[in-house]
Symmetry: C2
DNA sequence: TATTGACCTCAAGTTGGCTTGAACTTTTAG
DNA sequence: CTAAAAGTTCAAGCCAACTTGAGGTCAATA
């Protein structure tokens, strides 16, 4: 069992394309040593980082945010399960928030179908405030008086 | 009370930038008449369409998908509350699905913090199957044997 | 009447998270 | 030994959903 892995080995084990791995390294989310040839050699524990990255992405975190989190890991030793658990705790809150936002949304939605509005001033649906979307640029706020 | 509104009036009432409104029109999600000058005149009921669009976007639908939905509205009359309700029903399911995906995710997450893994073969976290993310391209599947 | 400001079109730019391609080197299998 | 597979860098491309800018017209107000 080798101590380091090639980019393709990492790619196969993580399911993340090697181009993406290079991109992550460029962005500073992971790092590698180099063989004499210039080829990357990844220590096994980057797989944990990659697991973290993948999972955080499913929660809608940007690579920037993820990097910020990863940077909090200790550098004096390979992060332990406990070190990871600290970061992971944030997720629970994230997920909980997302769930309750959706539940609020669902409530208003049902109400709006009930009242048949989609156009009434009184309808809260048009200004849910909840910032559910994380991608895209334009303004999303619905304002009074249709 | 005028029957049609300028693009700026629509923009103010909907909270959607006029550049976005032009873009929506170009994409066929809304339509306008033109004043003699070539300026757009929107009938009031586009506000309902815009409400629909905004809301659907919070659920992660693409403009393409939203257009497909909007195209199902009757064209022989200005859509009624009932017409809209038909489309809106889909949302309830969407939201419900999203909620239960998140709940599954939360469950695995808690389990993984518990077991301190983030790296074990047995950990289902790495292959949640749930396609939560809708943006982005790369593969997201975590494969065995870390 | 003049000047703002609202409107128009069309092309190009932006952001995030990558992918693709070119041009080249290194490693591995037969 | 040679061919194919795997690796490298760097620049450019892609997608969605817009925004921005240039260059020009039209409308409302003092």
């Amino acid at each position: 069992m080798e101590t380091t892995l090639t980019i393709n080995q990492i790619s196969r084990r993580s399911g993340i394309a090697s181009s993406a791995l290079r991109y992550y390294e460029e962005r500073g989310l992971i790092s590698s040593e180099r063989a004499g040839s210039g080829h990357r050699r990844f220590p096994r524990h980057v797989l944990r980082r990659l697991a973290f990255i993948s999972f955080a992405q499913t929660l809608g975190m940007t690579l920037e945010e993820i990097k910020t989190e990863l940077d909090k890991l200790p550098t004096d030793h390979v992060p332990t399960g406990d070190d990871w658990a600290v970061l992971s705790e944030k997720w629970t809150h994230r997920v909980d928030e997302q769930i309750s936002q959706l539940q609020r949304l669902r409530k208003t939605l049902t109400a709006c179908i009930g009242c048949g509005c989609l156009s009434l001033k009184s309808c809260k649906m048009f200004n849910p405030k909840d910032e559910l979307r994380q991608r895209g640029t334009g303004p999303r706020k619905w304002i009074e008086d249709i």
